[in-house]
Symmetry: C3
Subunit: 155 residues, 3 copies
């Protein structure tokens, strides 16, 4: 079966996981926008203090970090550190033709771990909880990557 056909259940599994993760990452940008508009601050560039329709009453305090915005930025940075590598690793992993069950467990397991990590970070759960959820995803990512590397060097 064509490895890159959406009719191929293995590739469809990857595409579903990948698009969900892309939407997750893009949502962090929008959530940052929403929070910046709500707190009317957390801006970063000097020109953001100009009077505009979206910012009718500029104030120098708007350039100070705001924890409600910074929290989303930290979550976003965590996504940048993880998701681009998952997107490529998952793609190469399904090209090694693992069993469909294994692919589903790993790819959807990763997606679930990232959504739970987001929920834990957003609601300021303990560092231990956040670290545990991040670890689950990271271990899946490392497993898929090592599996693919071993397949490529001929094991």
């Amino acid at each position: 079966m064509d490895p890159l056909s959406l009719q191929n259940p293995l590739f469809a599994t990857y595409v579903i996981a990948a698009t969900l993760m892309i939407l997750k990452a893009v949502s962090m940008s929008w959530l940052t926008v929403i929070r910046m508009m709500r707190v009317k601050g957390g801006f970063r560039s000097p020109e953001d203090l100009r009077k505009t329709p979206l910012n009718p009453h500029p104030d120098p305090k708007q350039l100070a970090p705001d924890e409600r915005v910074e929290r989303i930025r930290r979550i976003h940075l965590n996504d940048l550190e993880n998701l681009p590598f998952f997107l490529v690793a998952g793609f190469l992993f399904v090209l090694t033709e693992p069993s469909l069950l294994l692919a589903r467990v790993l790819l959807y397991g990763y997606v679930v771990s990232r959504f739970l990590h987001f929920a834990a970070y957003l609601t300021a759960q303990t560092h231990d909880m956040r670290a545990t959820l991040w670890t689950a995803g990271s271990v899946i990512l490392i497993f898929m990557t090592c599996w693919t590397l071993l397949a490529a060097i001929g094991y």
Copy 2:
């Protein structure tokens, strides 16, 4: 037609858009280098204050943030938040075999939106202008991703 052949106009459209965006992102690194050399500062690591051929007169002020350098770093970070996801989303999108016209409008439209966003950010246009240009690209990215997700789950 082979979905990954450069003779395939759909895939060639993606490759042109993708490579332009990669060159755009890499240019931000070089622009940071150029500005750091011009302002002789904006460095980040303690060892950057050592006397070397490229830095013959070290000064502790070189480690202070410099707005001319920081502006490029913010533009770069915005690229990191967007381009890796576009690169994967665009690839999966063309695998769903959309019409060539739609692919060109979305992929090249994204490229144009990012170059305009860069121009607006570099020249310190208003936050509203920058946000509008970013939004155009983000909406294209979300559209392509949702389209691909729906195709993968069988709609």
Copy 3:
């Protein structure tokens, strides 16, 4: 030969380089974790000061930046600025069917440049040394991307 088969030496070369770079990036996350645990600090979120099994003696100083942790974060950021683009550029590059020798020189050369860059940054070599190693990788990335762009527009 199937361009995405691991039996295809060109694609296998890409997969080996790509998985090594993914493992490299993921290792930066783990190295950050290891250093945060060792210095018992370098945390970023207010909730990280809660008393937990992994942090039995919280102290407000734990939220201050710690250079041993920050160094890894800077290396990690440098990876985020480079590796996702390499992963896509390398993939598209091998689809243009370059010679196996050229692909090996460029892809493995990139991998080596990044491992040396890491070693130089970790051990705080001069900015000049770090810049030279980064430049080697960046030039390879730009070359592969321009090569692919030219192939896609028909040269």
